[in-house]
Every structure is written in structure tokens, then in C-alpha cells.
Amino acid sequence: MSAALVPLAPLLLVAATAGLLIVLDLLPPREGKGHLGVVALAGVVAALAGALTLWGREGRAFGGMLLLDNFAVFLDVVICYAAALVLLLSMDYLRRNGMESGEYYILVLLATLGMMLMAQAADLIVIFLALELMSLSLYVLAGLFRGRLTSAESSMKYFLLGAFATGFFVYGIALIYGATGTTALDRIAAASGGLQRDPLLLIGFGLLLVGFGFKISSVPFHMWVPDVYEGAPTSVTALIATGSKAAGFAALLRVLFSTFKVAQPDWALLLWVVAVLTMTLGNVIAIAQSNLKRMLAYSSIAHVGYMLVGVVAGGALGAGGVLFYLLMYTFTTVGAFGAILLLERGRQEAVELDDYAGLAARHPLLALTLALFLLSLVGMPPTAGFAGKFYVFGAAIRSGYIWLAVIAVLNSAVAAYYYLRVVVYMYMREAEGVPTRPAPSFAGRLALGVALWGVFQLGLMPAPVLDLAQAAVAPLLR
């Protein structure tokens, strides 16, 4: 019995913590729910540690619907890192905005549970339910700042467009079931070998890609991103940008590489086009943004384009590169959003570019931290961003996608402009108006510290983690 539960251990830890929080939320003290954040953090860190000890083990549970392999463990770790950092950032942030509630922490944990389930699912039904668990929690979290119109707008748009994407996804599952008579990923793979040009299967697969495209926010399913990222509470934005993307890529990579391996030439061509469109559109529109959260939203679209370059390249180097990129992107993006979240002007969050003018003179440490995260997003050595881009683009060249790599590098050059503009504002402009100041938050600083450690750990010594990432994709590629 206990052996059968081993593959579930990280999931059970997160689920049990969520249940515990529901009970603790009812107990006193009624005012101040900071202790719930600490409990949630402990649960996520325990799940992270649990996942790490499971490295190298293989197992299945629930009649093969749930599986544990190195791929699932790697993504569980990425997701747990994202959730833990977001929880650290949330604690003081919620209190400062007067929105501290037990429900917030419960929903963050349930969203995390959904994400981890997506990484471990081996059946389309489970992927679908996990996707919904994650999305539903995030819809609510995005609208949690009820007093703000932008937050309500963000939640509403996310919900409506997300429900629409879900429709595509379920329809795709139904068609695939119609074509193959099963929803289990390995049995679909076995059945699709004989059905290569079956229209039912191909349409179902296409609809599935639409659903995934929405969750990872690739063009042309990216419309929701800027408004949702801008309106949602910044800590929730960080979770949407990192955790939900990692979960989307987890299920997408598993479906592409292990289930629809026979169709690889077809989907590689399709994703080639999507990757180029995604990174170009994201970068070009990001140039015009003066709101930092919006700018990072478009930049996140561009980064999905870079990750898709790795997916197109394929093989252990390409798919492993995507996993490495996801980990480094999680540290960098949570860090960047975290720095924004800590800075306030008056009682408001400082999100406009002008708010950052002259920041280096008054708060050199925070300015330096934000600058380092932005440089990692640009892809400057020795930050993690450089290593991530190097591996992904290198994989594309090795697989013969020279033009794709050229376009990606040109895009990175364009992107440098708008990231470095923020740095220029911080270091070379004079401040105007009410001075911005960083909020005194120990947990927030700790989160930035951990994220910074991740950025440099992956930037200075990327090879060990890349080896792990390549070992992680091995189960998909065999």
C-alpha cells in the first residue's frame, strides 16, 4: 500500500497542506493570516524535497493514469520552486494591500496541485482535470483584489478565454478518443502508429494544441496575457507566468514527444511557424509598453517563443534545453515580478517606467537586483538567461534549423532594447514626483535572494542542471 503511494508523495503533501489550511483558516486568530502562508510554504518546500528524493525512481499509480519518472520529478521541482517563491512574495504583499485571507493560500496550493498533476498525468482525462484545477484556482486568484477594476477585468478575461480554450481541449480529447478508443497516452501512441493520416486523430490533435497554446500563451492564443498580467495581483501574475507555463509545457512535451512521436515532422513544422510568430510579436509589442507588468507580459510571450524553438529542435538537447529554460525562466521571472511587487510609490504599486527613474541612487541594492533579473531575461552571460538561450538555440542549430536560430537571436537583440531601457531609467535618470520606496519585507527579500541564487547558480554552473534536464526527458524520447 505504502509503495503504491510513493509516486503520489509530492502531490499528497500539497493536497494535505491545502486541507490543513482549510481547517486552520477557521481557527483564531481571525485577523492576520500570515501564519497560513508559513504553513503553505512549509508544505510546498516539503513537496519539493519529496520530489527531489524521488529522482531516478519510476512508478505508476491508479491503473497507469498517474506516473512518476524523471521528467515529472524535474517539473514538480520547477513548479514547487515557483510556488514557494510566490508564497514568500505574497505574505507581506497581501498584508500591505489589505487583502490577506486564508483562501488566497489555499487556492495557491490547489493551483500548484493542479500544475504538478499535469506534470505527472499519463491520461488525457487527468491532464484535462488537472488543467481545470489549476485554471479555476488562478481565475479566482487573478480577481482577488476585488476593489480594483483592473483585477476584476483580469479575472473575467482570463476566465472567459480560458473556458473557451478548455472547450477546444475537451473537444480534441473527444475526437482522439473517437479515433483511438482510449484516452491513455501510451495507448494513443500505440494506436496512432497505424492511423497516421486519420483526419479524426489529426483534428483532435490540433484542437489539443490550441488548448495548450492558450495555456502557454503562444501566438495566436496570447490575447489574454497583457490584460491578465497587468490586472492580477503581482504575486499571482508571477505564478501565472511561471508555474502555469511550466505545467502547460510539461503536458505539451509529454503529448508531443511520447504520444505523437509519429507525427513529429508535421508538428515540428507547425511549431516552427508558431515559435517565430510568438517571439517576434511578443518582442515587437513589448517595445511600446511603458507599464512594467505589461512589458513583462509581452516579454513572457517572447520567451515562450524561445522555448518552442527548443521543442522544434527536439531530441535530448532540445527538449532538455526547454526544461532548463523553464527552470531558469522561473527564477528570473519570479525575481523580476518580485522586485516590482516590493517597490511602491505612495500607497500604490510602482509599475510605470517613470517610477523607476533614479532608483539606483536611492535604493542601489534593489535596483541592482532588478537589473540583474532583467539582464538574465536579455540573456547576458554569466546569468542563467544566457545559458538557457545558448542551449535552446544551440539545439536548433544542431538539428538543422539554422534560420530558426537566426530569427531567435535577432529577436533577443530586439528584446535587449526594452529590458535595458528600464536599467537606463534606474541608473541614468533623475527621479520626479513622490519618491518610490521598497516595502520593508523580510520574506520578499528572501524570495529575491533565492531567485538571485538560482539565476547565478544556473548561469555559472549550468552543465550539471542541463545533464539532469536531459536525463529527465530521456523517458519521453525512448
Binding site: 489589505g98 487556492l107 493551483a111 496541485l113 482525462i125 482535470l129 479555476l136 484556482s137 476585488r146
Partner: protein
């Protein structure tokens, strides 16, 4: 036997459908609809689709009808449509009726319904085992246990989410 039951239920179904259409009071209409849905559930049972019959009772006659009645009561207030104040009589009846219900529950729990073999007229898995409670239950709790559990967590998330969005900030 089942023919007799069918005709009785069919007559009741038609009568309740007529009552639903002909009564002016919307609450009475809703109650007739409950009877009608119950009759349809019995017909499902006669066909051997036990799961469908149970779902019909729980979902339609139970949950959806409660919603209907609530909506009617909220949207159409006014005593002239619900008659004279029924609450006085209800309050007097509440206690004995509640006690009666408790006795009934106790009797059912003690009877052989839960232990004896299934009723001979209702064979489990009648339609090639497709609609039977056993086969549905087996699918739900063995083959699809994980989706079943995840669905319950999903509903929990929805509950917490509704609370978070609807709760008014104290102070």
C-alpha cells in the same frame, strides 16, 4: 407486474405534466414538475438503467428543482400567488413531520435493503451491464478513480474560490 407499474407511472406522468402546464401558480407548477421527473426516473428503472434513474432523482428532481423553486420564490414575490401565509401551519407541522422522517430513516437502515440481494425485478447490469449501478460504480471507483478524486478537489477549489470572491471584507 412491470406493465402495471408502467401504466400507473405513465398516467401519473401525463397528469403531472398537465398539472404543470395548467396551474397558474408557478410554485405548484414546479412541484408538478418534480412529480413528473420522478415518474421519468421510475421509467428509467423499469428499463434497467439504474444509474440514470438515480442521477435523474438526485440531479433533476433534487438539485435542479431546488434551484427552480428558489428562482421562482426570489423572482415572483407576492402573497396573492402563494396563497395565505402557510408558515403558521408549517411551523406546527415541522416537529411531528421531522420526527416521522427520523423514524423512517431508522426503519430503512434496519431493514434488509442494504444487505439482501437486489430486487428480482431490477437486474443489475440489465442492458449488457452498461447502465447498471455496479458497472458505473466499478468504472468510477476503480478504472477512473483518479479522475473521480481530482474532480472532488476541483469542486473544492471552486467552493473556496466562490468564498474568496463573495466574502465581504470585515470592517
Amino acid at each position: 407486474m412491470s406493465g402495471v407499474v408502467f401504466f400507473l407511472v405513465a398516467i401519473l406522468a401525463v397528469a403531472s405534466a398537465l398539472g404543470l402546464v395548467l396551474r397558474r401558480n408557478p410554485i405548484h407548477g414546479a412541484l408538478f414538475l418534480v412529480v413528473n421527473l420522478g415518474c421519468v426516473a421510475v421509467m428509467y428503472l423499469l428499463l434497467g438503467a439504474e444509474f440514470l434513474a438515480l442521477a435523474q432523482v438526485i440531479i433533476y428532481a433534487g438539485a435542479i428543482m431546488v434551484l427552480f423553486v428558489f428562482a421562482i420564490m426570489v423572482l415572483i414575490p407576492g402573497k396573492e400567488e402563494t396563497g395565505p401565509d402557510p408558515l403558521r401551519l408549517q411551523r406546527l407541522l415541522a416537529l411531528p413531520l421531522g420526527a416521522l422522517l427520523l423514524v423512517e430513516i431508522a426503519l430503512i437502515l434496519q431493514s434488509s435493503v442494504f444487505t439482501a440481494a437486489p430486487h428480482p425485478g431490477v437486474q443489475p447490469g440489465y442492458a449488457a451491464g452498461a447502465g447498471g449501478i455496479q458497472s458505473v460504480g466499478r468504472l468510477l471507483l476503480r478504472d477512473y478513480l483518479l479522475p473521480f478524486e481530482v474532480t472532488s478537489v476541483l469542486l473544492l477549489a471552486a467552493l473556496v474560490g466562490v468564498l474568496a470572491l463573495a466574502k465581504r471584507k470585515a470592517g
